[in-house]
């Protein structure tokens, strides 16, 4: 509206690079996060109780002095990465195969999909002590728990993707003489790809959750042991640094799946990048 007030012989100057950056969401986001970090730094240095809070600079410092030089912690982190990878690989394999089997026909879908939904509604964390009791304190329990979290969203999204094929496309395939297998291969599967990737991303998030829950529950070894030691000795800097390492691992795993999605989903089939609401 204020543009109207500018007299016609005065051309408004092109916005400077700085003014442009001010309107760019990406830079504003970076600035926002930097601002939060700066506030934490000030608060941590001036006001916080050093037994509970640590300024970001000391956390980074703690990573180099207390995390990186300790081979046991690095080994625990490495185990964590390997467990996530193994659990996710199993989730994808079983999730896709079971999802395809259930989604292949209307009958199997209406018979087995409610069972999957029922299993998915179980708060799996109540089974965590049982899983550890069964599989022991080692990596197997963590892989199993990550797998049981990750597999369900993949199954559900594969089934959902195969279900939502337009009737028109199916009829077109049939009328052109496609067999059942050809219809699945050329119509249903390509249609299910975007939904599959939604499932793969959700599956990754939940696999991470499962593995980390199990890691924290088993406090006699691995990551859970070190977090407990740091928390109980009121030594927040290395605790935050270790948590930061895990967060970076989680972000990298998520990014890996997102990159695969962008690479493997051609053009229009890609779901909108600004995901607006959370659904199952």
């Amino acid at each position: 509206m204020s543009d109207l007030a500018v007299s016609p012989n005065k051309i408004p100057a092109a916005p400077s690079a700085f003014a442009k950056a001010l309107r760019n969401p990406l830079w504003l986001r970076v600035a926002l996060l930097a601002g939060v970090a700066a506030l934490l730094e000030i608060y941590g240095r001036l006001y916080a109780d050093p037994a509970f809070m640590s300024p970001p600079s000391l956390i980074v410092n703690a990573f180099f002095t207390k995390i990186a030089p300790q081979p046991q912690i690095l080994l625990a982190l490495w185990y964590c990465v390997a467990q996530i990878a193994a659990a996710y690989a199993l989730s994808v394999m079983f999730g896709v195969v079971i999802g395809l089997a259930i989604g292949a026909s209307g009958f199997s879908r209406s018979a087995f999909f409610p069972i999957i939904l029922l299993l998915y509604a179980i708060p799996q964390v109540s089974l965590l002590p049982l899983v550890v009791l069964m599989f022991g304190l080692g990596p197997v329990a963590k892989i199993a728990f990550g797998f049981s979290h990750g597999v369900f969203p993949i199954i559900m999204n594969v089934v959902a993707g195969m279900r939502d094929v337009k009737e028109l496309h199916l009829r077109a395939a049939r009328s052109m003489g496609a067999s059942r297998m050809e219809t699945i291969r050329h119509v249903i599967l390509p249609h299910a790809v975007p939904s599959l990737f939604t499932g793969l991303r959700l599956g990754m998030t939940l696999t991470l959750l499962g593995v980390i829950l199990a890691e924290l529950y088993v406090s006699t070894g691995g990551i859970g042991y070190f977090t407990r030691v740091f928390a109980e000795s009121y030594d927040p800097a290395p605790l935050f640094a270790l948590t930061g390492c895990l967060a970076i691992i989680a972000v990298l795993f998520n990014e890996l799946v997102r990159l695969a999605q962008n690479k493997l989903t051609p053009g229009k089939r890609r779901p909108p990048t600004l995901k607006n609401s959370v659904k199952e």
Binding site: F112, A231, S277, V278, K279
Partner: protein, 250 residues
């Protein structure tokens, strides 16, 4: 969803029967250690004993109040933050990806910090559950208010609706379904994360009792607790599902 036919129903019943039968036979023939899988009868007996103890109900009460406190905090914070963010397009563009990005990182990572800040009692579980449930509620609030069609708002304005009237008659009814979905997801995340927090480290509550039974290797009691949790969760799911349908159909 297709209407369940007799054939699909019988497949489902057969599936459940096979699972139950497998449980029964595996324990009767002792091919699985009773430590991992106790007999159905002993689980039932343990559950019967459990519900008669006072400690059972106090544990349930602890968990229930923790969940409700966490959920209340998450609703207030999530809706306020979400609504505030959508008041500006730029703020939505800047902040929405931050919140949705954080949500893909398991908040469980930060659980030891909650223990550090709020102690091992219920406070840390309230904070942890509230933090976890905050994200879906805030994200869905943002989605609900940011995707509101501009023309409805313009129509309301042009008909002389005040800010409050616009909110009451246009924004809120339009946003409600997505808001409710966010709250449902938030509630079950809250439920699971409070249980998880109690399982990992706490002094009271349902999760603590499951972990404790596992530590003592009293599998029948552990299974009794698990059965209770699963039954509660399934019942809650059905109730919330019915409630949500009721809201939507109005």
């Amino acid at each position: 969803m297709e209407r369940p036919s007799l054939a699909t129903r019988s497949v489902q019943i057969a599936f459940l029967a096979v699972v139950a039968g497998a449980w029964f036979f595996a324990t009767e023939t002792a091919s699985v250690s009773a430590l991992f899988l106790p007999k159905p009868a002993s689980v039932y007996a343990a559950l019967q004993r459990l519900v008669q103890t006072a400690s059972f109900w106090s544990a349930v009460l602890v968990t229930l109040t923790t969940i409700l406190k966490a959920f209340a905090i998450a609703i207030v914070a999530g809706v306020l933050v979400g609504y505030a963010v959508t008041r500006s397009k730029l703020a939505t563009q800047v902040i929405e990806p931050v919140i949705s990005g954080l949500f893909t990182v398991p908040i469980t990572l930060f659980f030891p910090m909650f223990i550090l800040f709020f102690g091992i009692g219920t406070g840390s579980k309230v904070a942890y559950g509230a933090t976890y449930a905050f994200f879906p509620i805030a994200l869905n609030t943002i989605a609900a208010f940011a995707t509101m069609e501009e023309r409805y708002l313009r129509a309301a304005r042009s008909m002389g609706a005040s800010q409050l009237e616009t909110f009451r008659h246009v924004l809120l009814p339009g946003a409600l379904p997505v808001l409710i979905t966010g709250m449902r997801i938030g509630f079950f995340i809250c439920f699971a994360s409070v249980l998880g927090g109690e399982t990992i480290s706490s002094v009271a509550g349902i999760g603590r009792n499951i972990a404790h039974a596992a530590e003592l290797m009293e599998s029948a009691r552990m299974y009794a607790w698990i059965v209770f949790v699963i039954a509660t969760s399934v019942t809650l799911n059905l109730l919330v599902y019915a409630f949500e349908n009721h809201i939507r159909s109005r």
